[in-house]
């Protein structure tokens, strides 16, 4: 039985918001009992996805949720924007950040840092990326 515990939304509208996002994710991950290695993965993924939301999505929000399922705990980050959207998600995932400037979305990289990863995007409407990690 999955029990949701916490749900908070932070704005991702300026560069300094990314710092707050990193800090908040670090705090929550620590509280949930993630190892320092897993914490760093979550914070890094949050930084990548937050930057995407800011720079490519024109600004948006991050929702952080925590869950308890039997003996493991989960942390879910949902980044949402109403930006231009990603025309080719598969391509974006493989670009990672080897593409300088341009897209360089860091999507592919972030995916490898979490257990569950989902991208929903529509050109002209916006993008939503959900990343979850379990202890």
């Amino acid at each position: 039985m999955i029990t949701p515990r916490r749900s908070e939304t932070l704005p991702v509208r300026e560069a300094s918001d990314i710092l707050l996002v990193r800090q908040f994710v670090r705090e929550c991950a620590t509280e949930l009992g993630f190892s320092v290695f897993d914490q760093t993965k979550l914070v890094t993924a949050a930084s990548e996805l937050g930057r995407n939301t800011l720079i490519h999505g024109g600004g948006g929000t991050m929702r952080l949720e925590t869950f308890v399922e039997n003996d493991r705990r989960g942390l879910r980050l949902t980044f949402e924007d109403k930006g231009p959207g990603i025309p080719d998600i598969e391509q974006a995932m493989s670009d990672g950040f080897t593409t300088k400037g341009g897209l360089g979305l860091g999507l592919g990289g972030s995916k490898r840092l979490v257990d569950e990863f989902e991208v929903v995007s529509r050109v002209g409407e916006g993008t939503r990326v959900t990343a979850t990690r379990w202890t």
Binding site: S35, F37, N70, D71
Partner: protein, 292 residues
């Protein structure tokens, strides 16, 4: 039949002491009291507390749903009892019997109080059965969970033991990997190794894969990831234990080991490590006139 109000609380109130002593006897009979694991006085304390919490919860008149908040103190207590039993070494059935053996003492007194009213008696017997069965199952679930936690912790300790990092020389760490290198294991290897490298500020790690049974693409990728992480930190890896078959497999798979140094033996790897550190090993020279 009119809805009956349960008389279980009444029975508990009037005959608490007798019920407790009967229950203790039942537990002894059912061998739930393990004098080797738990003292009689401890068990008495637990049983007394349970009866108290049980009676309080029954006051809510909700006999069906033990998930309701009224039952939380009872659930919590059962949870504690089961967890401690699991750790102490009781069996699951011994743990469940703590709750289930309360049935008989309650049945006996319900029969008396409902004398002449078989329908009411049936209803209350049914209530007791359902309630205590649910609590009994709940105790087994908690027991299982605790057992799993203990096993999980033991597994983790075993993992750590099977990934021992040794200091071969000042600045040179050795890590023999034994067993398959799956994703989870390779994470642990990386974490253990990098932590030790940071702690000791060692520049070289010799990773010995003699004990890794299978070389496949994913194992190779895990190894390469470990080397990458090590290099990012400012140290480097030498992989030893590359048997001829492994070398062939690596070529076959088309795995690109890049510029990672690989050696067939630990000795060869150690020599390479010394070289990298600018160390040389040679015969000791004795000064003339000195005694040994």
């Amino acid at each position: 039949m009119a809805t009956m109000k349960t008389r279980i609380p009444e029975v508990l109130e009037r005959h608490e002491a007798e019920i407790l002593s009967d229950w203790m006897k039942e537990q002894a009979t059912a061998l739930t009291q393990r004098p080797d694991l738990m003292k009689e006085s401890e068990l008495r304390k637990e049983s007394t507390k349970f009866l108290k919490l049980f009676r309080e919860a029954l006051a809510s008149n909700n006999l069906i749903d033990i998930q309701q908040s009224f039952w939380e103190p009872v659930r919590e207590f059962i949870g504690e009892v089961s967890r401690s039993r699991a750790i102490q070494g009781f069996s699951p059935s011994e743990t469940a019997t703590f709750v289930l053996s309360l049935k008989q003492p309650l049945f006996t007194r319900l029969r008396k109080i409902h004398e002449g009213q078989p329908d009411y008696l049936f209803e209350d017997l049914w209530n007791v059965t359902v309630l205590l069965d649910k609590l009994g199952l709940y105790s087994v679930e908690n027991f299982q969970k605790t057992r799993e936690d203990v096993i999980g912790r033991q597994q983790k300790e075993m993992f750590e033991l099977s990934t021992p990092v040794v200091e071969l020389w000042q600045g040179i760490l050795g890590l023999p990997i034994i067993g398959t290198l799956d994703s989870k294991r390779s994470q642990q290897v990386m974490e253990t190794l990098l932590n030790r490298l940071a702690e000791t500020q060692s520049e070289v790690a010799v990773i010995d894969i003699t004990g890794v049974p299978v070389m496949d693409t994913s194992t190779a990728q895990h190894l390469l990831k470990t080397v990458t992480a090590t290099r990012l930190m400012g140290a480097d890896c030498i992989i030893s234990g590359i048997r001829p078959q492994i070398a062939q497999t690596i070529v076959h798979l088309g795995v690109n080991l890049g510029d990672v140094t690989t050696k067939a033996s630990m000795a060869g790897a150690l020599a390479a490590a010394f070289k990298r550190m600018g160390l040389a090993v040679g015969p000791a020279r004795r000064q003339s006139g000195e005694t040994a």
